[in-house]
């Protein structure tokens, strides 16, 4: 029976990972995700799980050690943020190419220059094209749920891909929320022990991590792409099973008050919760506004997007990262590309908000909706705009 807990979301994430009985955890601390590996090491020290916690000397070694562990057939986990993610970035695409089902929690934090430890999505957006399954949690409950789902999805024989679960740094990691934590028996029924497709052991000799000549590389990349695209089927099945067992529904794009909506916001992560309040207030004012909360970032849920924007006149895509010198922020660029060939599609406007932990209030969301609709028909001169910059 799930129990109701009130704790810091990072600690809850660690508890959720512990329920999955990882064999090896290799992590290096970096604000704001540090509490996840710290609490996991507490759980190991208390003897609650039989796990080898490797205090690696860098994030690069953290993901490398997870590769070795996963290659040997162990369930492996790591966690990082921002600069740490970039330090392990050399290994990130290799993990998906090698089809190692490692799960990683990312406490999203701004990429440096200038150094900033607070929340935005520039870290994960720099790892867009690497072949990992990528999910965004909007609150503590989603964090717990997605951590556990991630292992099942990753290890599924039709997937065999690494998964990262994104939770906003500080906005989620350091916030205390009431949540339901499943109990061990429930998780054991949902998540069976890991049975690797191949493992490093002399009883079954295999070479992992080969060199591919140009004659074969394109085929290898096709295979990798197909694996990621086809994983959506399994993700939907796992989410359906989760709903049956735990009563909480997950969809690639969550909809909030979308009935009859003419204008909608699209958010990723915790900003969606604040946006919900704004939508409520707008609806009270008679504005036909709704909210789309993107939970599955990779593989990109194109079909679900088409369904979600049906009937919308205007879509405001909120990015939390800049694609410097690009056409749009990363999410808006993806949405526009997906909608390009559709006969009927909403007008897409793009605002980049909350960089480096800048607070975005309910009023800001409301203003953005009002700008996008008839109330104040101010179409930005540029394709995107960083919201709230003083002086612009």
């Amino acid at each position: 029976m799930s129990k109701r807990i009130g704790m810091e979301i990072a600690l809850a994430a660690a508890e959720a990972v512990a329920l999955c009985k990882p064999d090896v955890v290799a992590a290096y601390p970096i604000t704001p995700n540090t509490h996840i590996p710290e609490h996991l090491s507490d759980i190991v020290a208390e003897g609650r799980i039989d796990t080898d916690f490797i205090c690696v000397e860098s994030e690069h070694s953290a993901l490398s050690a997870c590769c070795g562990a996963s290659g040997a057939g162990a369930r492996a986990f790591t966690a990082t943020s921002s600069q740490g993610l970039l330090y392990m970035a050399e290994i990130v695409p290799i993990v998906s190419s090698m089809r190692l089902p490692i799960v990683m929690a990312i406490g999203n934090r701004a990429l440096s220059g200038p150094i900033n430890i607070w929340n935005d999505h520039s870290d994960i957006m720099s790892q867009r094209d690497v072949g990992w399954i990528s999910m965004f949690a909007a609150d503590g409950q989603e964090t717990i749920d997605m951590m556990i789902q991630a292992f099942k999805i990753a290890e599924h024989r039709d997937v065999m891909l690494p998964v990262n679960v994104n939770l906003d740094g500080f906005q989620l990691t350091h916030v205390v929320e009431p949540m339901f934590l499943p109990d061990q028996k429930e998780v054991d029924r949902f998540l069976p022990p890991y049975k690797p497709y191949a493992a490093l052991h002399p009883d079954n000799v295999v070479s992992m991590g080969s060199l591919a000549m140009p004659d074969i590389f394109n085929e290898a990349m096709q295979s990798k792409d197909a694996a990621l695209i086809n994983s959506k089927q399994v993700i939907l099945e796992v989410w359906k099973e989760w709903e049956e067992r735990f009563g909480r529904k997950y969809e690639p794009i969550g909809a909030y008050r979308m009935d009859g909506a003419e204008v909608a916001l699209m958010t990723l992560g915790s900003m969606g919760d604040t946006a919900e309040v704004a939508i409520d207030e707008l609806r009270d004012k008679g504005v036909k506004a709704g909210l789309l909360k993107l939970k599955l970032w990779r593989p990109f849920p194109t079909e679900e997007l088409f369904k979600a924007v049906k009937g919308l006149k205007s879509l405001v895509v909120l990015d939390r990262a800049v694609s410097f010198g690009g056409v749009n922020g990363p999410v808006a660029a993806e949405v526009k590309a997906a909608l390009y060939d559709q006969k009927e599609r909403p007008v897409v406007t793009n605002r980049i908000i909350g960089l480096g932990g800048r607070d975005v209030a309910v009023g800001d969301f409301m203003a953005m909706v009002e700008e996008a609709t008839g109330a104040q028909k101010k179409k930005p001169a540029k394709a995107y705009e960083i919201y709230g910059v003083r002086g612009s």
């Binding site: 090896v24 690069h60 050690a65 070795g68 490093l200 052991h201 000799v205 992992m208």
Partner: protein, 319 residues
């Protein structure tokens, strides 16, 4: 005819006949590193997992869809064979403890070139040794970044010409002495550290066997002659390694529990010129520079002998 010192005639016949590193690999003709790997695997046996850093050996041995390895093998990237090895070791330990795999010891051996050990892979190596993982790390040192075309590394000897510090009118090649990695690793509380060379195959294989039995970290530094990069005729590959030892340039010793022992001790060292003159990478050296090298080799060798004579082991100091 070549005199092969410290080589027991007919000893090769006692060696494990199984080839764990099979023919058909794409290493250069006369590759010392390929030979060294072949010998190392014979000493390890089949209950081994090899973790290989990017480099010559990884590139020539596993070209999809074939592999030269008759052992479980993993390659991830360049700087991380030590950390991947740490992960494999942890996993095998946990899985064995949980009863998920057979209850027998599988040794994890992480290998890398001098690039992946001295330079780009140094941090990972240091971390793995410090954390005390049951991993044997073997560095196959051909004294430059050979796979990318013979560039200077921290292991390149003084005076050598490489493509990133070539000899020319304004340069004599590398000006710095070779990094003493065995000393550095020994300071990591590693119970067994040894230097070796494929030209002394039985000595090398004995050291690998010894290291395999250590329950904890161990490190072997194997000099691997690269005829391509050292500009040596392929048939003189073994001779070059032998001369490195006979001139004192690359002494073969063990540091066990903090005690130094020479495993191959030439009665009298040959002049370094004998070693330098057969290699094209040193052909630009002036007699003065060679003297400089000779002086330093003598100094380093004497310092090593001093340690062999005077340093006690940790156990001796304790008890």
């Amino acid at each position: 005819m070549n005199t092969v010192t410290n080589f027991d005639l007919y000893a090769p016949r006692l060696v494990d006949k199984q080839e764990y590193f099979d023919a058909g690999h794409r290493a250069c003709s006369g590759c010392g590193e390929a030979l060294a790997i072949r010998l190392m695997c014979k000493a390890l046996g089949e209950d081994t997992v090899i973790v290989n850093a990017t480099g010559c050996m990884e590139v020539v041995s596993v070209m999809y869809p074939t592999t030269a390895w008759n052992l479980p093998w993993i390659h991830v990237a360049f700087p991380n064979s030590a950390s991947v090895g740490a992960g494999v070791e942890a996993a095998l330990k946990v899985l064995r403890r949980k009863g998920k795999i057979a209850d027998r010891r599988i040794k994890v051996v992480a290998i890398g070139g001098d690039g992946g050990t001295f330079d780009i892979g140094f941090q990972a190596l240091s971390g793995t040794m410090e954390r005390g993982h049951d991993v044997l790390y073997v560095c196959f040192d051909n004294e430059a970044y050979m796979n990318t075309g013979i560039q200077r590394s921290g292991a390149t000897p003084m005076g050598a010409s490489t493509t990133t510090n070539p000899a020319g009118a304004a340069s004599e090649g590398k000006n710095e002495w070779k990094k003493n990695i065995a000393e550095i690793i020994s300071s990591h509380n590693v119970p067994y550290v040894a230097t070796a060379c494929h030209s002394y195959p039985i000595d090398f294989m004995n050291k690998v066997k010894k290291a395999r039995e250590i329950e904890g970290p161990s490190y072997i530094h194997c000099l691997a002659v690269c005829p391509t990069g050292w500009r040596v005729p392929t048939e003189e590959c073994i001779k070059a390694g032998r001369l490195a030892v006979e001139t004192g340039v690359f002494p073969l010793y063990e540091i066990e529990d903090g005690k130094y022992t020479m495993t191959v001790a030439p009665e009298k060292l040959r002049p370094v010129e004998d070693y330098l003159k057969i290699q094209g990478r040193f052909r630009h050296l002036t007699p003065d520079f060679i003297q400089k090298i000779q002086k330093r080799v003598n100094l380093e060798y004497n310092k090593l002998l001093d340690k062999v004579e005077n340093l006690h082991s940790w156990s001796e100091l304790e008890g």
